[in-house]
């Protein structure tokens, strides 16, 4: 199995505060990897290091075969990123957003044209292409944001709470898109506060106080902790947290 993310004792300190404390794990190609933890557990800091946005204090990390210390810029070309908070430019139209991102990721004019048409058709947005993104319903915006984040067929896509605030039906449709991307070999690295979504992941990792406290398939974790759902596993682990979320 091809490994696309590999870390060893990856650590980030801010002064005396150890935000991420020697985390070691691997993620395989095409895997849907759920990255869970309470607010302040260190998820965002870990994700920023893996995206080449924050230099680790110590430890090792390879993302898409690239070392995070030496070539953080190279990493950015090989990954996609989407968060609930920011993904699309609201004052650009649907089509302008697609073209902008495809251009940023270095696609040729011909590819941009092809990709835009394909994407608009797939999402059924034909009648909306010239509308500003701010006028789109949130559910559509999120589906468009995800499609744009993988427009350059990255090896890995990082999704930071991608489904916050949307209705349950749209949330399900969003996960269908995640499954499709994973089948095409794109690795999905996803954080969420909806723990039913943790069940849809191939493996999940739960962080507490900057450390990885559990890493396994959802069914194995439930078996290990002798509980019926991931929420219970999460409660048991998150309650051991000492540093709180301040």
């Amino acid at each position: 199995m091809e490994t696309v993310i590999k870390t060893k004792d990856l650590t980030k300190k801010f002064g005396d505060f150890v935000a991420v404390d020697k985390i070691t794990f691997e993620v395989h190609k095409g895997e849907i990897f759920g990255f869970l933890g309470a607010n302040g557990a260190g998820k965002t800091t870990a994700m920023r290091m893996l995206c080449g946005l924050s230099r680790p204090t110590s430890g090792e990390a390879m993302v898409a075969g690239i070392d995070v210390y030496h070539k953080p810029e190279e990493i950015k070309k090989n990954i996609g990123y989407m968060s609930q908070k920011f993904s699309l430019y609201e004052d650009l139209t649907v089509l302008e957003n697609i073209k902008f991102y495809a251009g940023i990721y270095g696609l040729s004019d011909k590819d941009i044209k092809e990709k835009s048409d394909e994407l608009v058709e797939k999402l059924g947005l034909q009648s909306q292409v010239k509308k500003l993104v701010q006028g789109l319903p949130l559910g559509w915006r999120q589906k468009l944001a995800f499609s744009v984040a993988i427009v350059h067929q990255p090896k890995i896509v990082f999704l930071d709470e991608p489904t916050g605030g949307v209705d349950p039906s749209t949330r399900k449709q969003f996960w269908d898109m995640i499954y499709d991307a994973s089948e095409k070999g794109i690795t999905i690295f996803v954080t969420t506060h909806y723990l039913d979504e943790a069940e849809y992941c191939d493996r999940i990792c739960i962080m507490v106080d900057g450390k990885i406290k559990a890493l396994d398939t959802p069914s194995q974790l439930k078996q290990n902790y002798k509980v019926n759902n991931i929420t219970e596993v999460f409660y048991q682990l998150a309650r051991t947290a000492k540093r709180g979320d301040d």
């Binding site: 209705d167 749209t170 959802p218 301040d246």
Partner: protein, 311 residues
């Protein structure tokens, strides 16, 4: 007397181009914990802003503890507490300064009403000299609740207090609400987390400015019209795809560990033919059973009856 009433409230934006609240009527009883459940853009915040007298409705009337939201706005402002969805405290004041400020604005002191916030404030006390802008999400949420409570309001309006908050903090927050309810405070709370709905006395499921259903969580679930089944196998994504190819399926979607589905015609024969169909598709470790709907199932079912507002 009802604590809150809305009669045919309508609100539009952009000169009528955006219909945010569409002819809504309901009432909330005194001491009730009432939930507005719906996704972003459903109209929840507009309703809160109308009831807290921060926004004028286009049409209709509404009252809070017998006061009209238009005529008696000044009176309402003194007896309600409001925690907006967006963090709205003064970021460059400390925890203690924010609290003192809000107490003073409402003509009281922190000392006088300390018992009202004590349970929540003890968790904040270690950080009382920290600026509000430097607090974590969970701590900001607790401070905002303290500031909304410091004048002993009769009605508390909480707009998505738990959005972006992890499950453990969400659970703690709902425990706080239960204690406030026990003191007789009327609480209207909105959320996009369906699992929080069951903690309310009554819930309104809302979408596109309209109420789809209004009842207790138990009644909401009881009103689910079909038999609902839970299915799982060793390969859930394949299972979902296979189920979708079956003509007898009315509705199916992933629901945590299981896939939930309903049949067009829920007879024993059709149940059997579906399990046979799935066995032929090569599903292994197949589990198929009837299950009780959750509020999320009810919401999805009601969405199916609307004209694809959620796309």
């Amino acid at each position: 007397m009802s604590a809150i009433t809305l009669n045919n409230i309508t609100k539009t934006y952009n000169k009528g181009a955006v219909l945010a609240v569409d002819d809504i009527s309901f009432s909330v009883e005194k001491g009730e914990l009432f939930g507005l459940i719906g996704p972003d853009g459903a109209g929840k915040t507009s309703i809160f802003r109308i009831l807290t007298t921060l926004l004028l409705p286009d049409k209709g009337s509404a009252t809070v503890v017998g006061n009209d939201v238009v005529k008696d706005f000044h009176k309402i402002r003194g007896i309600v507490g409001y925690m907006p969805g967006r963090f709205s405290l003064y970021q460059d004041l400390t925890v203690e300064e924010n609290l003192n400020f809000f107490a003073t604005v409402f003509g009281t002191t922190v000392k006088e009403n300390y018992d009202q916030i004590k349970d929540i404030y003890v968790m904040l006390e270690p950080f009382k000299d920290r600026r509000a802008g430097k607090l974590s999400g969970g701590m900001k949420q607790k401070l905002a609740l303290c500031c909304a409570l410091i004048h002993k309001p009769e009605v508390l309006f909480l707009d998505e207090p738990t959005t972006g908050v992890d499950v453990v903090s969400r659970k703690e927050f709902w425990e706080m609400l239960a204690r406030l309810k026990a003191q007789g405070i009327t609480i209207m709370v909105s959320t996009s987390y369906m699992d929080e709905a069951t903690l309310c006395d009554r819930i309104a499921l809302i979408l596109g400015g309209k109420i789809l259903s209004l009842a207790t969580p138990e009644e909401t679930i009881k009103a689910y019209p079909e038999k609902l089944y839970a299915v799982k196998s060793s390969n859930m994504h394949k299972l979902l795809k296979d189920i979708r190819t079956n003509d007898e399926i009315l509705n199916c979607y992933a629901a945590g560990e299981y896939i939930h589905l309903s049949l067009k015609n829920a007879t024993k024969e059709n149940e059997n033919s579906l399990t046979k169909f799935l066995a032929e598709k090569g599903e292994s470790d197949l589990v198929f059973k009837e299950t009780t709907p959750t509020v999320e199932d009810c919401f999805i079912r009601l969405l199916g009856n609307t004209d694809g507002n959620s796309n």
